[in-house]
Symmetry: C2
């Protein structure tokens, strides 16, 4: 059994220095509740609704910057794995990233490949597969927000033997019904069940420059069953959601079915077309 | 706006001749309520839980048999498109099929590719892509039950410009929670929203030789929103579920996003691995 925490944070693009304080406080809180894997939202350091590249530049960090350094210390001190979204500047370009950090240090960074709406005006898309890293807790994959809507992307993580997908996200509220389950969480459930892996998604909250968020942080087990989901009555507040989940050891879903072995990749070539 | 009906039928493997009477009555009922597309469950002619190949042989039909002939007449008479699951014998082999029939005749047949559990003891798996057919109602795709859990398969239908996926299904109850939404319907919602197509799934009902079904017939619009879903308080009864849906004319989901154009197939090659 693995205890996971997803942290839904009211990020703030104006007082952006506060975001990391919020994040650090959430990590401590999650750890005190026994979580070994802690997931933070997309763009935790910066907020989301940039008006100019200068705003992004002021808020972005670097791989060898203070935030990653502090989180490596925290992961070591609290003996946990941290997956967090960060705006990162690297070799003069900006990326919408997810980092995986454990007690041994920064294990890898992933650059969001499928960019949402105006993100293309600010970020360079990545061109590498989902990051999958071996940890004490299992093989953890990460990608960012809209990436998860591309089932090919989750498949790639599964085919690299990921057992847990940690997903930093900022899910803008598109006005679709959120009852009984927001569509964002529905897609997480489907990704989990179709790949038989655990999915832990941390969303943000707090209306930012007119953009609201569905606030749908969620943990689904490898059957796709929701173990915990954010309370929509508590929008704009910090919510640390904790759940115990079984990390799968195989992909079996019936006596004679296995979501990996049952695939027919010889028949899937058409999927490479545009 | 297109009016669709999915027919949840209490199929019966013992008195299998009754199944086609039930189906025909459901088609008439759906038509009288204005449905132009009518979807029936998987293996409507036979039931599901075969004990022997002889049982399947007795129940299977052929492409030029009485059932398809009668349905072609019915489709012409009622001016509708019918998508139905049938056990079909062809050149000495048995297939778990879906047929698409409109007023002009049998438009195509699809052989289930991804077989569930003991189906491998009875049916030969298909080796062709999802069937996609141009009709007056839009480009209709079909596949059968477990196929829809392979997101690659739904993608192939979308990449062939399908706007509607009609899914005959028999969803055995695996004991997972069915509240607030059965997982089977959750995966339908995800398939719809990730591909921006309408999905209409017709499940069966009535416990058969110890196998129960979730009874989750559902119609989701191209946002993935459930327009109608079977009432679990009425298990074992006929339920004809009717909904009006918008058939999508593009794949746009935000001012600058399109679920097809945003794909990065150059990065998806790994998906062809086993």
């Amino acid at each position: 059994m693995l205890r996971i925490a997803v942290c839904q944070l009211p990020l703030n693009i104006e007082n952006f220095e506060e975001n990391i304080k919020l994040a650090n406080s959430a990590i401590h809180d999650a750890s005190s509740r026994g979580a070994r894997l802690v997931v933070l939202p997309e763009l935790t350091n910066s907020g989301y609704v940039f008006r100019t590249l200068t705003e992004l530049e002021e808020r972005a960090t670097t791989l060898d910057g203070a935030i990653v350094k502090a989180w490596v210390s925290l992961a070591e001190q609290l003996n946990l794995v941290l997956v967090a979204g960060l705006a990162i500047k690297d070799e003069g370009l900006f990326y919408n990233c997810s980092v995986i950090i454990d007690s041994s240090g920064l294990r890898g960074w992933y650059k969001k490949v499928h960019l949402w709406n105006d993100e293309v005006d600010f970020f360079t898309p990545g061109d590498s597969a989902p990051l999958v890293v071996d940890t004490d807790l299992g093989r953890i994959a990460t990608m960012v927000c809209y990436d998860v809507e591309f089932p090919e992307w989750v498949r790639l993580a599964m085919l690299e033997d990921a057992t847990i997908l940690a997903l930093p996200t900022n899910w803008p509220d598109g006005g679709l019904p959120t009852e009984p389950t927001p569509l964002e969480a529905v897609r997480v459930q489907a990704a989990a069940s179709q790949n038989k892996l655990v999915v832990a998604a941390a969303d943000r909250t707090r209306v930012e420059r007119g953009v609201a968020w569905t606030g749908s942080s969620v943990i689904a087990d490898s059957d796709g069953v929701i173990k915990v989901i954010a309370d929509r009555a508590k929008l704009n507040k910090v919510q640390i959601l904790v759940a115990d989940v079984e990390v799968p050891t195989d992909r079996k879903i019936s006596p004679r079915n296995d979501v990996r072995a049952d695939r027919r990749p010889d028949l899937y070539r058409g999927i490479l077309k545009k």
